[in-house]
């Protein structure tokens, strides 16, 4: 580099002592090596495929699958294609990941705060939880929950009935669902509307506070909107009281919605495991906010909850977001362990597909592509959110 800039610039010769020359040589060699290995693997693979008579390409996705899937958010039967089976797998993975992330965040935050509690008992309980959960492999925990559900819970006839309408048995958890009544649709619309309005109100309140200094009870108003509008919708619809309650019929319950043992065990395992890690993220995030901040806020006369809400949490959140993102990614990737207990996620379905068609490479590529897409989407979203809150702060 330095040589180029010099005014006299003597005729440059290829010299091994020139770092630029060396770097170009190294890079060419590295690329050539990688290319060579790639070519070696690809040519071997092509040769092996032709010897073993395995078809290649993604044409199999349009063929009839011929297998059934235990649970599926969209209708699926053996007459449907492999492509649709893969879609079912992706949806099942997303379903458990989304529910898992929400629940793990809530439980993890509560336990993380409990780890900082001055209450000795609460503090110790939370510590025991975190240590036990983080030091036992997730797969073992999944097997454990699955064994608890399928082996120790009673059959449907003696199902546990903790809340009226909810039945817990070794066939899974049955919960009542709303009937096809107009009022429940209204309530659903009210819920969505409530969320949108709550966001708008909080924006307006922020603007007003910036302009005039007057504060507005955003949280209470938001909760009122999100809870109140669905109830209003339900009342307008005529306040129907009947639900689709599961009833024992023959050997199993009918009606209502089911959480299968596989889904319940996977969800329980993922949530309990990840909550342990999230608790540590939350705890270290809050502890990382300097004590001087708390003291300064107290000196300004803020109340305890104001200190937490206005001073500590906004700063802690910025520290928490990046490690939280990797926990979300971990949970999503860990949901692939579903294959061990038979929940039909994308890995399990791709595995069945590659066993049936023999097209291993395509099957693995599908799995990897799905996870890469999900991982990248989560990181893009969390990076956007990270930037968003960083801007608000400074």
């Amino acid at each position: 580099m330095a040589n180029n800039r010099a005014g006299r610039a003597p005729a440059r010769r290829l010299n091994w002592n020139d770092p630029d020359v060396r770097s170009v040589v190294y890079q060419v060699v590295a690329l050539a090596l990688v290319g060579l290995i790639g070519w070696f693997l690809v040519s071997n693979t092509l040769h092996n495929l032709s010897v073993r008579n395995i078809a290649s390409g993604f044409g199999f996705l349009e063929r009839e699958s011929g297998f059934a899937i235990g649970e599926s958010p969209i209708s699926f039967g053996p007459e449907n294609t492999y492509g649709r089976a893969v879609l079912v797998g992706v949806l099942n993975t997303l379903r458990v990941a989304v529910v898992g992330i929400v629940l793990a965040t809530i439980i993890g935050t509560i336990i993380g705060i409990a780890r900082l509690s001055k209450n000795w008992l609460v503090n110790k309980l939370a510590t025991v939880y975190v240590e036990v959960v983080r030091n036992v492999p997730l797969l073992l925990q999944l097997f454990f929950w699955y064994a608890i559900i399928t082996e120790t819970l009673p059959g449907p006839r003696q199902a546990l009935n903790p809340i009226p309408g909810v039945f817990i048995s070794n066939r899974g958890v049955k919960i009542p669902t709303p009937t096809d009544h107009f009022a429940f649709d209204l309530a659903g619309i009210g819920f969505l509307l409530g969320i949108v309005l709550a966001v708008l109100v909080s924006r307006w309140a922020k603007k007003r506070q910036d302009a005039t200094g007057q504060s507005f009870p955003v949280y209470r108003a938001g909760i009122a909107l999100i809870l109140g509008l669905p109830i209003l919708g339900w009342l307008i619809g005529g306040a129907p009281l009947e639900l689709n309650v599961p009833k024992l019929q023959g050997f199993n319950h009918v009606g209502g919605a089911t959480l299968t043992p596989e889904f319940a065990a996977l969800l329980a395992g993922l949530v309990i495991y990840t909550a342990g890690f999230i608790a540590e993220v939350v705890r270290s995030g809050i502890q990382a906010v300097s004590h001087g901040q708390t003291e300064a806020a107290a000196a300004l006369g803020l109340r305890r909850n104001q200190i937490l809400r206005l001073v500590v949490l906004p700063q802690a959140l910025r520290i928490i977001i990046p490690p939280m993102t990797s926990q979300y990614l971990n949970l999503t990737k860990n949901s692939s362990l579903a294959v061990a207990i038979g929940y039909p996620d994308i890995v399990s379905i791709a595995n069945t597909t590659l066993n049936q068609t023999g097209q291993a490479i395509e099957g693995i590529l599908i799995i990897m592509a799905v996870y890469l897409t999900i991982s990248i989407s989560i990181s893009i979203f969390m990076n956007w959110y990270n930037k968003h809150i960083a801007l608000v702060e400074r």
Binding site: A30, L31, L121, N135, V136, L139, I367, M368, Y371, L372
Partner: protein, 362 residues
């Protein structure tokens, strides 16, 4: 005329057990509620667990019928099956060999954890240790009976997968981290692609790839056995994570150190080997220990491709038709083993963090 004013009551004590209870359990209404909730939770879970695990449990039953009659746990199942769970399908009379191998591996890990050994003696110790483990496990020399690695199993296999995995992934990850920080665009791109690709997919997909795709990648007639394939997958997987941990350490070193090394005229490898890496690696020891714990736990995933590690040999023990339905006991036992290993390592990592911490702590 002395008027006696009524004396004030003494201040509330701030020491002693009563003050401690008041301060730590009942300092506010919310705290009191939390304490009551916690006590309720403990009463709901701990006595039934003790009843199940100790009081109602059967430790000595000879048959499963006798064991099932017990109201609590059936630890006799563990007594009956512990050799299968701990050593898998290894020939019964030779099982002292994997036991010794496991002890050597644990000793290697403990030695590595001692700051006294953080120097050049560590490498020969590891080489000797790994060779000894290999000799013990395979045999075929020194009058030891030859045992194929398809018969290896249980805890020693779990330890081998984790330690060998980390030991080989470490230099690979180090190179990847240096490559990612390199100024050569082609090398940097290759390293970033590798690291992000691996970190974006679950370990299971890597294991599947190793078990079904690797045979297709290799020339015809050339095969690698299943265990080695799983080991390669674990090494490739762990290397990407090690690279990220080491990169964190490299970034933490002040720029002056790099410039100082350059101004002394050191070559790239001298600069890295003598100046940067010794400092960077010291910074990343605690996260490396956490990573080792994660890899140790993750080795349990080899169950899915049918390798007889601790997890899988436990599952095999559970399929004995004579001893059906004791999976909770078995899982509690295996959890305890994993817990002892992981918890002691995480305790160590925390102690190390305190030792290495130079900042101020609250």
């Amino acid at each position: 005329m002395a008027s006696v004013t009524e004396s004030l009551p003494p201040p509330r004590s701030t020491t002693g057990p009563i003050a401690w209870v008041r301060e730590r359990l009942f300092s506010s209404p919310l705290n009191t509620v939390l304490t009551i909730l916690a006590v309720w939770l403990i009463l709901m879970t701990v006595p039934p667990f003790i009843e199940w695990a100790l009081i109602g449990a059967n430790f000595t039953a000879a048959t499963s019928q006798e064991c099932r009659a017990a109201s609590g746990a059936c630890w006799a199942f563990i007594a009956e099956k512990h050799r299968l769970m701990l050593f898998g399908l290894y020939p019964f009379n030779e099982q002292w060999r994997p036991a010794l191998a496991a002890v050597i591996l644990v000793a290697l890990i403990v030695l590595t954890c001692m700051p006294r050994f953080w120097n050049k003696t560590l490498l020969p110790i590891w080489v000797v240790g790994i060779i000894a483990v290999g000799v013990l496990m395979w045999g075929g020399v020194l009058g030891l009976q030859y045992v194929e690695n398809t018969n290896w199993g249980g805890l020693p296999l779990t330890l081998i997968l984790a330690t060998v995995g980390i030991a080989f992934a470490f230099p690979f990850g180090l190179l990847l981290a240096l490559g990612r920080r390199s100024r050569m665009p082609a090398i940097k791109t290759l390293c970033i692609m590798y690291i992000e690709l691996i970190r974006g997919v679950p370990l299971i997909s890597m294991l599947f790839m190793a078990s079904v795709m690797l045979p297709l990648f290799l020339p015809e007639g050339f095969t690698i056995d299943k265990l080695l394939r799983a080991q390669i997958a674990i090494i490739m997987f762990a290397a990407a994570y090690i690279a990220e941990v080491v990169r964190g350490g490299l970034q933490a070193i002040p720029k002056g150190q790099y410039e100082g090394a350059d101004s002394l005229g050191l070559s790239y490898w001298q600069k890295m080997g003598f100046i940067i890496l010794p400092q960077a690696l010291k910074v990343v020891i605690p996260p490396m220990v956490s990573l080792f714990i994660a890899v140790f736990k993750d080795t349990s995933l080899v169950v899915i491709i049918g390798i007889y590690d601790l997890m899988q040999s436990t599952k095999v023990a559970l399929t004995d038709p004579l001893w059906r339905g004791f999976s909770i006991e078995a899982y509690v036992f295996v959890s305890a083993i994993y817990f002892i290993f992981c918890y002691s390592m995480s305790k160590y990592s925390r102690a190390l963090e305190d030792r290495l911490a130079t900042g101020h702590k609250r």
